[in-house]
Each structure stands twice: as C-alpha cells, then as structure tokens.
Symmetry: C2
Subunit: 244 residues, 2 copies
Amino acid sequence: MTGELRVIPIRGIPELEEGDDLAELLVDAAPELEDDDVLVVAQKAVSKVEGRIIDLAGIEASEQARELAADTDPRRLEVILRESREVIRARPPLVIAETRHGFVCASAGVDTSNAKGPDTLVLLPLDPDASAAYLRDRIRVLTGADVGVVVSDSFGRAWRTGTTDVALGVAGLTAVVDLDGLRDSTGYELHATQIAVADEIAGAAQLVMGKLDGIPAAIVRGLRVRGDGRGSDLLMPRERDLFR
Amino acid sequence: MTGELRVIPIRGIPELEEGDDLAELLVDAAPELEDDDVLVVAQKAVSKVEGRIIDLAGIEASEQARELAADTDPRRLEVILRESREVIRARPPLVIAETRHGFVCASAGVDTSNAKGPDTLVLLPLDPDASAAYLRDRIRVLTGADVGVVVSDSFGRAWRTGTTDVALGVAGLTAVVDLDGLRDSTGYELHATQIAVADEIAGAAQLVMGKLDGIPAAIVRGLRVRGDGRGSDLLMPRERDLFR
C-alpha cells in the first residue's frame, strides 16, 4: 500500500476557545503541510472552537438521568442522554450510548473540559464530517496543500480493554479500503476484506498526540489514501449489526 | 508521549513454511533494528512457521458445524468450533467466537492460507505472547537490539465496519498505558484513561503492511513504551464485559 510512514505531532497549540481559527493555528504550528498528508485533529479541539461546550449550571436532570448517575452528578448524565439516540448498555454511572450521529461509545462522547473544570462538558461536533471538510478547505486556502483530515476521538471497544482512537469525521481520504475485488485466487476469506484505515490512522496519530501533553493534532505522512470517504462509512449499518 | 514516529515496512520475506527461522528472515530483510523499536509481525506469518496449519481433508464436521456452515464447507466451521471456547454470535456462515486464548473475533481467528488454497486453514498461534517473546529473544541474540514485539491480526469490531489490526501477542512493551494516576486536576473523566497502545501500534503497522503486498511485518520506531505487557492485558475481564 505504501512505503514508510511518518507520524508527526503538532505541538504548541494554545488552549482553544469558541471561534478560534483552528486551521490557522494548526498551520502556524505544523511543519509544512504537503499534498496527501493526513491531518488528524482531536475531537475535543474541534468541539471547543465550534462552541460545543455546555455548562452544567443550566441543566435539570430527569428521573432517568438520576438513575443512571449512581452517586455522580445527574446533570452530567442528563447531558449524555440528550446527546444519545439510544442507550445501548448501562452500568451506572457508565453509559454506552449511540449518539445522534450513530457512533456507539461511552457517555455519548460527552467529556469533561480539562481547562474549565468538572461543571463544563465538551460535546461531540454536530457534524464531524463537516468539521473535517471545513478544516480541509481552510488549510487548502491557507497553504495550497491538498490534505486529508480526520477528526478523532478515543473509544472503548467491546471485549477489549482500553481505548483506541477512531475517526469520527473524515474529509479527503478513503475511510474504509475494500479488498473485495482484489482478493487472491483462493477467494475464501470472509473477514478482513475491508480495512478501516481511517480508524488505524487515528490510532497511529494518538500514539504521538498524548492526552497529557496537550498535543491535539498530528500529521500522518506517506499514505496514499486520497478519496472521498466519510466518517459514516465506518458505522455498521443497523441491519448488519450483531451487537445491538 | 513521544516525538515523531516512523512506521517502516519489512519487504522481501519469502513464503513461509513450518520451522522457518522467522526472526532471522526478518532481521535479514529489515533495516537495522534499534533498541526500543517495536517489531509488528502478522499472526499468519507466525502461525505458518509454528505449523499452525490444518488440512481440511482429515476433518469430519459435527452437526453444529453443518448448521453454522450454511452453504459453505462445514469442515471449516468444525475447525472454527474446535478453536472456540464459546460462540458469541452467529449469522451463518459468519461466526463470532471467543478463542481458547480469550480473543473475541470472527471465525475464532481461523483463516484461509493464501498460498495453499481453500482446503488449508491457518490457526492462531497456541500462545501469541510466547511467540512474541520467542521472536524478541531470538532478535536480541541475532542483533543485540532490545526490541518490543507485537503479533498482530485483523479483527472486526462491534458497531463499526471494517477491521483494524490489534495485538494478540506482546513482548517487551506496555500493552495498555494507564493514565489513571496521572489524570488532570478536574479528575472527572470516566473513560479514556487507559489507552490500548499495543493495538494502536498494530493498527499503525497494518497501514504499511498491506494484505496484498505480502509484507508480513513492520517496524514502529520512536515510541517509548518499553515494558512487560502481555496480549492478555488487552482482554476485557468477563465480569467487566458488558457485551457478552
């Protein structure tokens, strides 16, 4: 598929506020961007500049939120429920939910703001593909480079411990590489014919991003994955899903 | 966590046979290995040299295998059942099973041999951590380099399409980085405090390995993850698992 890959952290991004020009901040901080680079940006950074922040002061918790909260703040669970289309599993206060976008993840992707304390929550972008496309377009304007963009987040998995970063939003690259038409002569393999490359790219970027270092973005260089994939390509259609 | 990361494919590995010295073949083909490199090797390569190959000619299918096979070869399903501790979900002929090691994956990790046609199946290594440790020790003998080793495979996921590569066997590196003791002052985050770095490393390597190019291994260089993790660190303990 490719030669050597480089994964380059982008350091020196300041604490972000609503309305900040994230693309410009990334371009200023990054080494020179090249065509076919994939820029991976943490969801939290995108959500902050898009104003997807909510203060718990204004929230009233429903009965369901109180039940799911156990001994934690029920207003937080209320926000999670508002972001959810469906609660998939719950072990209070842990909730695995399907978001309105179709992502299945802990807390419907709702997270605490590191900067603003426990009463301020960060929600997922309303449309992560649109967020990725906006960043991509803005970077092309600023630098001329035709890059791919992935908006990433850390998701837990069924059956395995820990999180890996996955792609919520995708622009300018293929999200899933389909080897079906290319399978070898034995042609018998039932699994492993579709590779979720955008998720693997997000995971590779996480290895250099680090939650504690305040590195919200990385460049993955050396792939040839230009395409028009979307984050929704990575969502298992409900009718094919064995795990609902 | 780190500076820049490089992911370097190892090309030129010949078709493998039982008893081949895989470590020596990798060392001969790889650019010079360095301390703290993580060498990612595809499970299939490891299984082949370990003789984890089975010919369907000698297999008799049980009733359960016939039911699960739908219109495919029931002997293949018989082999999958023999590798399984438990069938988690089935939509014949697709079976999601827990292997005897505790991995939950399609077909209990049983795969067709590309080289030998549809009647020859490749099974997972009996003990992927031992496989990784053996490769690590042998590489130290051959080169003096203290590398980490990951034995990887492509697994599907609940709720998401496509596969990502994950770590089955681990030697010489931390499998899961725990940020719990390090969380920031708000201290409220319930998820994303444990990062499955060995899985992200496997996924990053997959991006350069490619199933069709016959590249069964890659080096991930630039991480500082030396440790004594095991593949089993990545398995969700049954009592904490919400998805059985």
